[in-house]
């Protein structure tokens, strides 16, 4: 087991594309770290650089105390699980598991023992003589993980290993991976584009965009204290509502709505005339009492809105309402997630989502009053998207 240290990593592909633009990251021994970000953000490239499947343009990769920058993948003592599993199609499960060990001149008995052990642990016993073509998706997944485990590496690298499974299987495999990590305690670097996976699996989550790290933090902190508007919009489902607000008389104006600021927020906004305002869907409520700040320092803000779309999800309901303020897009156009590109989009207007309980069902087209705690308002610089709250936890409680 070992830590992984990346320092000053840059990767420029021969075609001139800079996939990683200078990045430092230290992954602790035994840590489960998740690299997450929209497609093209460089997360897979970063994983492949750690694996040694790509060579860095600049910088160094250390595994434990060892500088592995110039070592081949096999010399790095890592194992990788691929999105497509990459099982050897012409070998049965037994051979797939043993293939890497055979190369290492591991004694035959040791191979048999280890392969047998792993097969038992993952429930592959009856599949040993089958080829990958005869296995189901879930079984292939197990074999791929088994092939990584049998090597007993110091670091596991996983490249979207669950994305080819159906939704139900994905949830159960996710839990299984978490258990496996708890038991083995091996350092794991895990790439995904699915923020739910990231939040549930990672000890820490590293959010990337355009070849740069946006924030590395524990999942809860990433959610509560996003470092910038991109992270804020990326982490959380449904996504945080983000729009550009004008600063007027010490408060914010968001279309027709006036959003009062707390003293602390006012101080952070300073002389800016515009900020990006963010509100999480879950921070809205239909009753003022539900959002009252714990310490009574702030009073709930009332927001009269018209429910354009109502989605009943059983235990909760999502309502979508228009806001007459420009939408904020985090990151470059290419990085926008699909759900941001709504049909019939109007750039000058935003649509906010509120997640509400179902004590009172809202009807389509109904005008309702929503409440939120002003301390829960996220503020970001309108220029570079940086969070204005250095310590928002304090304000939010």
């Amino acid at each position: 087991m070992a830590s992984v240290t990346l320092s000053g990593i840059r990767k420029v592909f021969p075609n001139g594309f800079a996939a990683i633009r200078g990045l430092d990251l230290e992954i602790g021994d035994g840590e489960f770290i998740v690299l997450v970000g929209p497609s093209g953000c460089g997360k897979s490239t970063l994983l492949r650089l750690i694996a040694g499947l790509e060579t860095v343009t600049d910088g160094a990769v250390l595994i434990g105390e060892r500088d592995v920058t110039d070592l081949s993948p096999s010399e790095r003592d890592i194992a990788m699980v691929f999105q497509s599993y990459a099982l050897y199609p012409h070998m049965d499960v037994q051979e797939n598991l043993a293939f890497g060990l055979r190369r290492r001149r591991t004694p035959r008995e040791v191979i048999g023992e280890r392969v047998g052990g792993i097969a038992g642990a993952l429930g592959l016993g009856e599949l040993m003589a089958r080829r990958p073509g005869m296995l189901s998706g879930g079984q292939r997944q197990r074999v791929a993980i088994g092939r990584a485990m049998v090597r007993q590496p110091v670091v596991y690298l996983m490249d979207e290993p669950l994305s080819n499974l159906d939704a139900k299987l994905r949830v159960s495999m996710r839990a299984e991976l978490a258990r496996l990590h708890d038991r083995l305690g091996v350092t794991t670097v895990y790439v995904t584009h699915d923020q739910t996976e990231a939040m549930t699996l990672g000890d820490r989550v590293c959010v990337m965009l355009d070849g740069e790290i946006q924030q590395v933090d524990a999942p809860g902190r990433l959610y509560r204290e996003p470092a910038n508007a991109f992270v804020a919009g990326f982490i959380g489902s449904p996504a945080m509502n983000l729009a550009i607000a004008e600063v007027a008389d010490g408060d914010l104006r968001l279309g027709d709505h006036r959003l009062p600021l707390t003293e602390a927020q006012r101080a952070r906004v300073g002389a800016r005339s515009q900020v990006i305002a963010g509100l999480r869907p879950a921070d809205f409520a239909l009753r003022a009492a539900d959002v009252a700040a714990d310490d009574g320092t702030s009073t709930a803000v009332r927001l009269p809105v018209e429910a354009e779309v109502v989605e009943h999800l059983g235990a909760e309901q999502l309502i979508v309402f228009p806001v007459d303020a420009p939408r904020y897009h985090a990151g470059p156009v290419a990085a926008r997630t699909e759900d941001e590109e709504t049909l019939l989009a109007e750039p000058a207007r935003s649509r906010f989502t509120a997640r509400l309980d179902v004590r009172r069902e809202v009807r389509h087209g109904e005008r309702v009053e929503l409440f939120y705690d002003p301390a829960r308002l996220y503020l970001f610089d309108a220029g570079d998207g940086r969070s204005l709250a250095r310590e928002p936890a304090e304000a939010a409680g």
Binding site: L53, P73, A79, F82, P89
Partner: protein
Amino acid sequence: MAAAARPVRARSRRSPGDRPFGLSLLLWGGIVFFTILSAFPYLVMLSTALKSPQELAGPAHWIPDTIDLSGLQRTLADPSIWGYFRNSFTIAIGNTILVMVAGVPAAYVLARHEFRGRRLFLDLVLITQMFSPVVLLIPLFRLYKETGLLGSMEGVIIAGSAFTLPFSIWLLTGFFRSIPVEIEEAARIDGYGRLGILFRMILPLSVPGLVATAMYAFIIGWNEFIFAVTFLIASPENQPVSVGVFASIGKWDIDWQRLMFMALLGTVPVLALFATIQRQLDRGFATISSGR
């Protein structure tokens, strides 16, 4: 005819008779037309080979009055025939080996690796497609004379395989590309080098493609004519069937029956091979049009 230009799914629920009568007529007209066009030389071979010399000397007609196999007897009885076939086989096998030895590693790096000069190499390979063997005959003749390759089957094999190589590399590249890169990467992590990956992953996984390419090279080698007729003109003991057939039409009294049997025997084996690799060739062609 053009109206019917949509591919039909292999197992569509529509029955074959489910098309308008006019289109059916056109379709079957086309089928008959192309069948005749393609089969014509074989019909000529059969018709001629099976007629007796007397019947051949008379007015032309398709169906032999009597089946006369004396031509086959004369063909098989002629000891030089076996030499021709042995030489054709040697040249075909030599062509196959040389093409595979040179083509497989080249196609592998071209399919998988980006390196300086890759583009240049591919461009040069494409440019060789502009060459006709005729254009190179004189310098090759001189070169062979100096190196002692003139009159030998080796010389024919070398020249022929160089002309077979570009298309073979291109076929192989397509087959190698269809193997997922991740499998190679997994093998790299498992500790295999380029050579290990080639022999333990790529080659076992592309057996159908390798077989198809080898057969293609074999067919081209078997059908070799222009280099053989030029370089082996003074070495009849090394001539392949194609030259043997050609040489016998220059003679005063042509034994057409025997000649047609030779042509038949010289074609049928490769036709069988060709029919087997059709599917793989089709796949290769499909990759061009999909623009990979």
